[in-house]
């Protein structure tokens, strides 16, 4: 099923699916969130291509009203929409309009592989007021890694990989750079205090001249260049 309020996008996606994915049957096309909900309840599709921003509601609002969701979702959105960060944070599939064929093939491959769809976790994340109760979902070579943000003490760069240090003493290695994780976490209570370290504000015990002491006993280096900005950031976090 395709849900998008733009006739051009409906036609373009329908044509690409018909041309390159003949095994896919398009059972309905809806041009609004409310129309999409009605069609989903009636048809019960396996996969929905869902526009992030529609005239009557956002795709996330539509899913919230349908939760729990028992179908796969591939979000469709324009270049660098503000929602992309939230989509990536939740490791959800998305396609950028006007649809690169290779990206569409990859998304369809993931759909066929029946990888778990974290849409219900994502919906819960969108509903939660407290960011620290949110779940960060990362794709790793071993599968999906799901972590509550409040469990994460700090993250440590190791070339193209990152160690995630957890409150229970464990650490997880993920094949993402610290920069890409910083992009996902910097407005969720995390601060890059050093080129190799990202710390979670809720786990900071104290700041010393060259390091920050964390709740797990770690002493995380603070770069001299970032020290003043870091202290100002902590003061702002405590006030808010």
């Amino acid at each position: 099923m395709i849900i998008d309020d733009d006739p051009f996008i409906q036609d373009l996606l329908k044509d690409k699916l018909n041309q390159y994915f003949r095994e896919i049957e398009i059972c309905a096309i809806a041009d609004s969130g409310s129309g999409g909900m009605q069609a989903i309840r009636r048809i019960k599709p396996d996969l929905v291509f869902l526009d992030v921003e529609m005239g009557d509601m956002t795709g996330f609002e539509m899913l919230s009203q349908l939760a729990p969701v028992d179908f796969k979702v591939i979000f469709i959105t324009s270049y660098r929409h503000y929602a992309i960060k939230a989509i990536r944070f939740n490791a959800l599939d998305y396609l950028l309009k006007p649809f690169d064929l290779e990206e569409l093939r990859n998304a369809m491959k993931r759909f066929r592989e029946v990888t778990p769809n974290h849409i219900n976790t994502a919906i819960a994340n969108f509903r939660q007021d407290n960011i620290n109760d949110q779940t960060l979902i990362l794709r790793t070579q071993k599968g999906e890694l799901s972590l509550m943000l409040r469990e994460v003490v700090h993250l440590e760069a190791d070339r193209n990989y990152t160690y995630i240090h957890l409150a229970n003493g464990n650490k997880e290695l993920v094949s993402k750079t610290l920069s890409s994780l910083t992009e996902l976490l910097e407005d969720r209570g995390f601060f890059r205090c050093h080129k190799s370290h990202l710390v979670n504000q809720v786990h900071i015990v104290s700041i010393k001249s060259e390091f920050v002491l964390m709740t797990n006993g770690s002493r995380v280096a603070v770069s001299r260049r970032k020290r003043d900005t870091f202290i100002a950031w902590i003061n702002r976090q405590e006030r808010s």
Binding site: P7, F8, I9, D11, L12, E53, R80, K97
Partner: protein
């Protein structure tokens, strides 16, 4: 391709009207919304000189001085009107 071109001739004038109305109302949010909506179609047709200003407007629509926002939007509209003339000639040539 002909169907997409015909659709371009149907959708873009409507959207330009909506954009002009949003500019008249001084409604930055609607200006962004209409530009955002037409952006994939413009990318698809490779009307590249509209893409960068649209992306800029999408990111800066809240903070950009209104005069600048209006000038940039009117420049995009002028380019769209030129594209409409070109597409119209192509569609006509199919007949």
């Amino acid at each position: 391709m002909r169907a997409y071109l015909t659709q371009f001739l149907q959708l873009i004038p409507e959207r330009v009207e909506e954009l002009l109305a949003a500019l008249e109302d001084g409604n930055r949010i609607l200006v962004r919304k209409h530009l955002h909506k037409m952006s994939p179609q413009l990318q698809f047709f490779g009307i590249r000189d509209t893409i960068t200003p649209i992306q800029r407007l999408e990111f800066e629509f809240e903070t950009m001085p209104y005069d600048e926002l209006e000038t940039l939007t009117r420049e995009i509209i002028a380019k769209l009107e030129a594209a409409l003339t070109e597409v119209s000639a192509i569609v006509e040539s199919y007949r």
